[in-house]
């Protein structure tokens, strides 16, 4: 894992320390990583080709379906 130094304002540092004190994260590093993860997800969302459930359904309805319903190949449990 890479190590990076980050300059934080007093307010930002205090905010992160409070999150750790509240037990939400085990360290400031973990809290920062969670923030970065959210940012990454946000960026990925912007790249999604669909804006609504209707668009998702329409997109996948054009696919040649090899499986029927969610539980096709259900025999994997048996």
């Amino acid at each position: 894992m890479e190590v990076a130094s980050v300059r934080l304002s007093e307010e930002e540092k205090k905010f992160l320390e409070e999150l750790v004190l509240k037990g939400k994260y085990s360290s400031i590093s973990e809290a920062l990583k969670a923030g970065i993860y959210e940012l990454m997800q946000e960026e990925k969302l912007k790249e999604l080709p669909w804006k609504s459930r209707e668009e998702v359904r329409e997109y996948f309805s054009k696919k040649e379906k090899k499986l029927k319903g969610l539980e096709d190949l259900v025999d994997e449990e048996d």
């Binding site: 459930r53 359904r57 996948f60 309805s61 090899k66 319903g69 969610l70 190949l73 449990e77």
Partner: protein, 169 residues
């Protein structure tokens, strides 16, 4: 008026994102203020598995699978924020009840867990697709006092059934 508490089983949620057929009824439940919809973390797990199965079968690409999973995760969070659905945790209570249902009704573990969650979360209706509808038969409906409703039925069917339930009650 007391809301109808409704559990959307994973197959019903799947219809919401991947199948045209059945999606109309699930959308209706989510957007009708008479309903209070619930599902569970377990449903989300099954949906992730459903996406992976399609990737394995090359029905969809890895890129599409990743995007679909992200879309569903985000959309469910949005629905929760808008109070249109509650994604329930699975606790020991549900697991203990599910164990009883496996023995009593010879259910798959997964179906037993959905049924147990439906009951512990005080839902009166469980919405499922046809395949599950056949497996969760009338015995369960009668014994557990639960309406099992297929996504393949129409909105009118559901409205009529709900009216009938009200009249019976």
């Amino acid at each position: 008026m007391k809301k109808i508490e409704c559990y959307l089983e994973s197959s019903a949620l799947w219809n919401l994102y991947y199948e045209e057929e059945g999606s109309e009824l699930v959308e209706y439940c989510l957007n009708n203020s008479q309903f209070k919809c619930k599902s569970s973390i377990w449903s989300q797990m099954e949906i992730i598995r459903g996406i992976k199965k399609r990737e394995n079968q090359e029905e969809i690409s890895s890129d599409e699978a990743e995007k679909l999973e992200l879309f569903i995760e985000t959309d469910l969070k949005n629905l929760e924020n808008k109070k249109k659905i509650t994604m329930e945790e699975i606790t020991n209570e549900e697991i203990l009840l599910a164990k009883r249902f496996i023995r009593r009704y010879n259910l798959y573990a997964s179906d037993a867990l959905h049924l147990a969650t439906t009951i512990t979360k005080n839902c009166q209706v469980i919405i499922v697709d046809d395949y599950h509808f056949k497996r969760l038969d009338n015995t369960i409906m009668i014994n557990e006092g639960l309406l099992i409703f297929s996504t393949k039925k129409t909105i009118t069917d559901l409205e009529e059934k709900m009216n009938l339930e009200k009249q019976d009650g």
